[in-house]
Amino acid sequence: MMSKMIVLVRTNFSILRRQRGLLIASLGLAIVSMLVFGFLFGGNTTNKTRLGVVDQDATTVSTQIVHQLQQASSLQIFTGRSDEEQQALKNGQRDAVIIMPAGFSQQLVKGGAHLHVYYDQNNPLTGASAQLTVKTIVESINSKLAHQPGPVALEQQAVAAKDLRPIDFITPGMLGMLLMWANLAIGIQLITWREMGITKRLAATPLKPISMMSAQVVARLALSLLQCALLLGLAIWMFHVQIYGNLGLLTLVVSIGSLTMLAIGLVIASFVKKSAAADSIRLLVNLPMMFLGGSYFDVSNAPSFLQPIIHVMPLYYLNDALRQVIYYGSGWSTIQTDLLVMLAWIVASMLVVWRTFRWL
């Protein structure tokens, strides 16, 4: 029984391995995108993020925060009034502006202080880097407060050590995109096999459809992990991208992401009969998801009418989980929601597939 499954998986893997079109579309696209963005926007580690800081609180605590920020080597701090800094942001002289409102430090102690942040929406990549920077700052403040109620000191290492470059933002996004392209393709595969009469020929043998499909899934999962390793390897080697999180957790995220995309691919195969239609449908699904899912740029500031669509897309959650683990070094608890949404997608898809999928 087990040896039969191994033969099935090996055969499916051989078939996949020889499909050059698939590999070019998924891995090739990801690599090219990464190289283009990596070189275009620079893997230059000396680019400082220009941060405007407005201190409306003017207390010891807030002054200390500003001081700590000025010590960070990867930040270039400008201080001033709110209207001045925001104008500078509009003029492209800042990457982001943070405002500590009056009463900020009092609320910090009580818990529940708010920091106003302004980003440059027209420059999605540097804006994204700046966002990450600010998020890091906020996290540092929060973690420090948890441990000592005294003066706030920013984690210098935390801020300086992270190279906040566009390439760091893009790499997880490319991983997510790769997983989407490579795994949705299972739908096209099954539709093509059905159209060619291969599934019919197999139906005349003792082979059960579920065995063949499971073997396809396992083979594609293995191929996805391999492709991800290749892409990450390239990113690390060429652009010195760092994986801050746990590799085991990353593998889990990649696996769940792959399974999500595979399940959706099977849904496509359940509803589409002709392979010509399948190609169009695939593009219709992939392209919006690729951009709205945040693979290329941050979408949290996208117009509100798009937000519901974005928050439904599985790729959005996959990209987020990937970024959290690779860039933030986040643990299980942070990515729980992302994983749960993906699991929900898997369950819903498999229910649909169970009811509607036809082998012949």
């Binding site: 099935l8 055969t11 051989s14 499909q19 019919k200 139906a203 005349a204 043998t205 003792p206």
Partner: protein, 322 residues
Amino acid sequence: MISPKHLAGTTTAGPAAEVIVDVRGLVKNYSHKMVVKNVSFSIRRAEIFGVLGPNGAGKTTTLEMIEGIRKPDSGTVLVAGLDVCRQKSTVQRIIGVQLQATTLFPELTLLETLQFFASLYPRSLDPRKLLSDVALEEKARSHPQDLSGGQRQRLALALALINDPSVLFLDEPTAALDPQSRRMLWDIVLRLREQGKTIILTTHNMDEAQILCDRVAVMDDGQIIALDTSASLISQLGAQATIDCRLSGQATKSDVLELPGVTSVRHANERYIIYTGSMQPTLVALLSYASSKGVTLTDLQVRTPSLEDVFLELTGRELRAE
């Protein structure tokens, strides 16, 4: 042309031979249209059984239901005593199938394809030996899309034989083949029968049905309209010869019927198909009729009656017209 040795009369399976495929009351509907209407027949061990009929007659669908590819809407099929619906895997282990158009995984070589299929069965033959049996051993490392039509059919046959089945189903095995490849395949089929295998094939080639098959089931519009050896079916026409010709204008069917020896006449536009019990008198009379009446006689063919004529007689339509 037709070697007497191959005529259906010398079936090796006598009436007492074991029934290996038993089909009863098969029905299949597609979108409210009945494509297989209550089909029943049985096939004996080591028989070469043909299903003859035009495209759309329901031959492929019937075969697919016996092979376990499709579920019948009603009826039962027993293969070697096993119910195909209930014991599908067991049945599929002992049957081999060659579908009408075989496309296989373009990414795998011929040898890899055979090896893959071999892995699906508990017992299988050696893939390399099978490839050489069908004269494809030099293509072992080629891919299916690089093969010619005839080579693809041979590959499909090798695939059908991979598990050394006792019952073989061939759907239009020689449809797209040239005469030489067709004869090659017939030889293979005859050799397989000598090994004790039962072969069921569908065809709309009348030669194939007459020469190769022990018994023929004639199928049209979802039903079996005749089942017997081809010799018996033909002799039921009661004709020694068929005269096929065109007679212009003034000729009438009733005139032709009155010619000596004529048993029946089919007539459409200017074409006449005349069945006669004694060819020579009829032919002579026909020629003098034509010249006396000033009728132009063209496209004259004289032939021994065939299953083509049987089909025409049973349905009023030509087998080849599709």
